[in-house]
């Protein structure tokens, strides 16, 4: 009894490898993050659509999230079998570029982001505004700024900037909006922060369990509840100081085993076929206006009056001091 | 012949030396003050302890490096002679085959050994269901089945009453007569030594002395033994 599962597992592993080796079609490996490839993410549909047009086998390998993606890439270095990396956070692309592992994508850099964004190495494929999400039925009058939030006795769950990309986004949001006043804002927010979680999942789970009044997420988060669950109770609070952007980008590796397929895939990423998959699977805005417009439900989402985004270099420079300010303010 | 050839063993707080031999079929009482090393002597012969020097030989064969189970002897300990989780029959079966691969003939032998020691019908019970005397009998029955030429008794009957103890010694004598086994028996009781063992080995002062005639030794004890006998 104790031996057979091991044998079975080894057989499975061997068979899987063998099956992989038998396909004659070229294989395009794309390194991305976990929720992209999950059964409920864009992955399955993207794979099906792209394989129908490329005559290739598109294989995703996934790691935890956008930050881990970069770490993984550095671990693999030039040994990576991936040709494309998809899902890096724009705040991290200076670090990513510094690895020297990327080559210019060569695609048209035009896009419909709310702020100008053009980078020779990294191609944005979707984006979203960070926002504080709350429950309308429990909280009729949501705060309209960090200062209003700090003045209230509402409790919010945020993510740790040391371990998650939304956490990093919030850090830069406060910095971009308040500059030198950021430490003061964090100090004022300290008693509103119920707790800090390692990742988005724990924070959002605590919010939906009713533990916190608000959670740091995206302006598009309520769209999931509205479209997939028919639940319109969740809303994002519009902040007058503006909302920071998360831009997710794809890049081509200079050691790509399949450079032509990589180009073809990046071209596909910018196409309407790919872009129209994004809203209801990744719950983010596509980087290009869709021919058919956004899915029903997205129109009800708030549109911030002001969009904030540091350039990749600014973000890279600001991260460390902003983190120290955050730690100092919240450790007191 | 069982020979202890210049055996020397050193432990944390005492040493034990022995250099003597007894003929095959001998019956030897091992007597001496508490803590002098009686059990240690049996452990050295049984292979549970290693001497620092010297050899243990049986019929000229050097046993010193052999595992306890490979030596031509059976030891009955003060306690833990039976595995509590196995039945009496299984406990006996271990004496025939340590891997408990038993044939029908083996089971017949087990039954016979049980009957021989007055335990007929007890095979399916567990040790906890037996009285102290019955447990000793079961251990003896296994010794019978193992049929080894040397039997080492490390006070296995110490917990039994005088009558029961006499009865067990009678049984040991009977079995030893039948099999011609060489027996070494630790005892505190000079009377026991006199009735059971023609030879007695005195252990005291770090030495297991060469066995002498029991009667002579006990009638005319050296000072250390005299003190012990009181």
């Amino acid at each position: 009894m104790t031996k057979s599962p091991l044998a079975l597992a080894i057989c499975t592993a061997v068979l899987a490898t063998a099956a992989m080796a038998q396909t004659d079609k070229p294989v395009l490996n794309v390194l991305t993050y976990d929720s992209f490839t999950s059964e409920w993410g864009p992955g399955p549909l993207v794979e099906k659509t792209f394989e129908a047009q490329c005559g290739c086998d598109l294989v995703f390998s996934a790691v935890g999230d956008g930050a881990e993606l970069l770490a993984r890439l550095q671990l693999e270095g030039k040994n990576s079998t991936a040709s494309v990396v998809l899902g890096l956070d724009s705040n991290l692309i200076t670090l990513a570029a510094a690895t020297g592992l990327f080559t210019p994508h060569g695609q048209n850099t035009a896009n419909d982001l709310p702020v100008p964004f053009a980078d020779p190495l990294f191609l944005p494929y979707d984006w979203g505004w960070f926002a504080v999400v709350y429950d309308k039925t429990k909280l009729p009058n949501a705060p309209d700024s960090f200062e209003a939030l700090a003045a209230s006795d509402l409790k919010i769950v945020i993510q740790d900037p040391r371990s998650s990309t939304p956490g990093l986004g919030l850090l830069l949001w406060v910095k971009a909006a308040y500059g030198d006043r950021a430490p003061e804002i964090w100090s004022a927010l300290a008693d509103n922060i119920l707790t800090v979680t390692p990742g988005w999942t724990e924070a959002y789970g605590m919010f939906t369990a009713g533990e916190a009044d608000m959670v740091l997420s995206y302006t598009t988060s309520p769209a999931y509840h509205l479209i997939a669950e028919g639940d319109d109770s969740k809303a994002a609070a519009a902040f007058t100081e503006g909302h920071y952007l998360q831009v997710e980008v794809a890049g081509k590796l200079s050691n790509a085993p399949q450079p032509e397929l990589a180009d073809q895939f990046l071209m596909f990423v910018g196409s309407d076929a790919f872009q129209s998959i994004i809203p209801t699977t990744n719950w983010m805005y596509p980087a290009h206006h869709l021919a058919a417009g956004l899915p029903k439900g997205f129109q009800q989402m708030i549109t911030p009056k002001k969009s904030l985004l540091m350039t990749p270099d600014e973000a890279a420079t600001a991260r460390k001091p902003a983190l120290d300010e955050w730690l100092t303010a919240l450790s007191r | 012949m069982l020979q202890l050839d210049r055996v020397q063993a050193r432990f944390d707080d005492f040493t034990l030396a022995a250099d003597w031999q007894v003929p095959k079929g001998a019956r030897v009482a091992v007597i001496g003050p508490s803590g002098a090393g009686k059990s240690t002597l049996l452990s050295l012969i049984g292979g549970f302890l290693m001497p620092d020097q010297g050899r243990v030989l049986w019929q000229g064969r050097d046993l010193t490096r052999e595992d306890p189970g490979a030596r031509p002897m059976t030891t009955l300990f003060q306690d833990q002679n039976l595995f509590p989780h196995l039945t009496i029959a299984q406990n006996l079966g271990l004496g025939i085959s340590p891997s408990l691969r038993l044939t029908a003939a083996d089971y017949d032998r087990i039954e016979a050994a049980l009957a021989h020691t007055g335990l007929a019908g007890f095979g399916t019970r567990k040790p906890a269901q037996l009285s102290g005397g019955q447990q000793s009998r079961a251990a003896l029955a296994r010794a019978l089945l193992r049929d080894k030429p040397i039997l080492l008794l490390d006070e296995p009957f110490a917990a039994l009453g005088p009558a029961l103890k006499r009865e067990m010694l009678g049984l040991v004598t009977l079995l030893a007569d039948e099999t011609g086994a060489t027996v070494l028996m630790v005892t505190h009781d000079p009377a026991e030594a006199r009735t059971f063992a023609p030879l007695t080995c005195l252990v005291e002062g770090g030495i297991a002395h060469a066995p002498q005639a029991t009667a002579a030794l006990l009638d005319n004890p050296p000072p250390a033994l005299a003190d012990y006998l009181g």
């Binding site: 091991l6 597992a9 996934a62 371990s163 369990a209 533990e211 | 189970g69 509590p84 891997s99």
Partner: protein, 512 residues
């Protein structure tokens, strides 16, 4: 001969464990120059130590009365309660945290009751929350291990005590305290070291960056700073702490030397009067403390159980295979090391305890670094996960087996070797039957831990290899909170079924 073979195998395994744990560390630490800790890291170290000491101390202190009550009372549902004691320990972290919050959180049952009574609510966030969660996870484990200690005292000793007219205090002093002296240091060590590497629980319930642990600093170094040498440096600190804790625990633990009984039934005396009332109170309180958060998890997950998507079942099957294989490996190694340790050696225990101090993130990253030039990571997902799960659960299996392997050796080695019972026969007729109770418990624990552990599969898994915990994570990541709750309940149920099944098997076969 047989002893030498055992020692050699055990030594080989110990070296293997050392390599498995230290090679990844070395791979990361290649660029390490100099050794100093930044002020923030020192603060993290202080917090880590402090919460681990508190958690271990409190878990053990609370576990003693519970274990004693369970050892001396017989009541309906006692067996079920003892089995259920394993449950908190095997809950996936995020599930357990949400369960705890449902009870003790801001909007939890406790605070609802308090405010309903007009009292002011209590906050779980802070050091108290971290310790509460760690006690919730680890106190039941401590109860089980201490209970084993109580059950290992031969009934004859208690009979002797009764015949000598011992009062409960005398019994405590002469019989129970020596047992506790032998058992508690090991129990406290295990819990202390588990809490040392805590990270998600500490951060989430600690309420913010004040509650930063060394493990979080490792996480940050690996993920954002890509400071491999820095991560290795912090991992070394963890190793050093574990080694020091191990040395202290070994120094403190004294063997009991109770010797063997005849395997007769019977436990400690069960005095009536106020001790009885106290025991009842202790058992009810412990059962509530452990059961309520689990009840919350069940209530949360139940609604969606029937329409779980097929991927969940596939992942569940994969997780089961991994869990069973990990269990086989872990128990084989643990038993070999425990039998070697029973012969009075210290190194097998040390080798078996090493994985406690290992950061699974460092382990996974280092292995990845070592293996990926030669293998496709996804093709290694299952074997690597099995090996890591087995290694990480080894300390628990060893801790459970070691004391009983020790008494088995002390009590029956002479008899076993005088009869020449060696090799397979020894395993089959002596070791397995005598150790079936701890083996069943250890197997249950390892299987359940391997079911629930995210471990390193996240680092290696490709598209198709998701395990159930990973899938729960993915579901939550895709906003499928309800489905995730149901999948988590499935995970908990399967883990518990494995745990319960093995544990029952062990207890059924623990013939007198």
């Amino acid at each position: 001969m047989a002893d030498r073979a055992l020692s050699l195998t055990a030594a080989g395994l110990a070296v293997g464990i050392g390599l498995l744990l230290l090679a990844p560390l070395a791979a990361l630490g290649l660029g390490l120059q100099g050794f100093s800790l930044a002020p923030a890291e020192l603060a993290a170290l202080r917090f880590t130590l402090w919460q681990a000491v508190l958690s271990a101390g409190l878990s053990v202190a609370l576990a003693i009365p519970v274990a004693r009550a369970l050892a001396r009372r017989r009541f309906r549902g006692r067996d079920l309660l003892i089995s259920t004691l394993g449950a908190p320990f095997i809950l996936p972290v995020i599930v357990a945290v949400l369960g705890l919050l449902a009870v003790f959180g801001r909007a939890g049952w406790v605070n609802q009751t308090l405010t309903g009574l007009g009292l002011s609510p209590v906050s779980i966030y802070g050091l108290q929350g971290v310790v509460l969660a760690h006690v919730f996870f680890n106190m039941p484990l401590a109860v089980r291990m201490i209970l084993h200690g109580w059950q290992a005292i031969p009934a004859e000793r208690f009979r002797l005590a009764a015949s000598l007219g011992f009062s409960p205090a005398d019994t405590m002093r002469h019989i129970e305290r020596p047992m506790l002296r032998a058992v508690l240091p090991g129990v406290a060590l295990v819990i202390f070291v588990i809490c040392l590497t805590s990270f998600a629980v500490a951060l989430t319930l600690g309420g913010g960056p004040k509650a930063t642990t060394v493990e979080l600093a490792i996480y940050q170094a690996l993920r954002f700073d890509f400071d491999l040498a820095g991560a290795a440096r912090l991992a070394l600190v963890q190793f050093a702490l574990c080694t020091a804790a191990y040395a202290v625990a070994t120094r403190l633990a004294l063997p009991t030397g109770f010797g063997a009984g005849q395997g007769r039934a019977g436990g400690p005396p069960a005095p009536k009067g106020w001790p009885l009332r106290l025991d009842v109170l202790v058992i009810i309180f412990a059962a509530m403390f452990l059961a309520l958060p689990i009840l919350a998890v069940v209530l949360d997950g139940l609604p969606g159980m029937l329409d779980l998507p097929p991927q969940v079942w596939q992942a569940a099957a994969r997780s089961l295979i991994i869990a069973l294989a990990s269990t086989a490996i872990s128990l084989g190694v643990a038993l070999t090391l425990a039998l070697a340790a029973a012969r009075g050696r210290n190194w097998p225990g040390f080798a078996a305890s090493l994985p406690l101090a290992a950061s699974s993130l460092v382990l996974g990253t280092g292995l990845f670094l070592i293996l990926q030039p030669y293998f496709r990571p996804a093709s290694l997902a299952l074997p690597v996960t099995m090996a890591i799960n087995a290694a990480l659960s080894l300390p628990f299996a060893f801790r459970i087996l070691a004391p009983e392997a020790r008494s088995l050796f002390d009590d029956y080695n002479r008899l076993t070797s005088s009869l020449g019972i060696t090799g397979f026969a020894r395993l089959r007729f002596v070791v397995l039957p005598r150790l079936s109770r701890p083996l069943g418990f250890a197997a249950g624990l390892v299987a359940a831990l391997s079911m629930g552990d995210l471990g390193v599969i996240a680092l290696f898994a490709g598209e198709g290899e998701a395990t159930l915990p990973l899938l729960v994570q993915r579901l939550m990541g895709a906003y499928r909170i309800q489905t995730a709750a149901s999948a988590a309940l499935l995970l908990v149920s399967l883990s518990f079924a494995l745990f319960w099944g093995f544990d029952q098997w062990g207890r059924r076969h623990a013939s007198a």
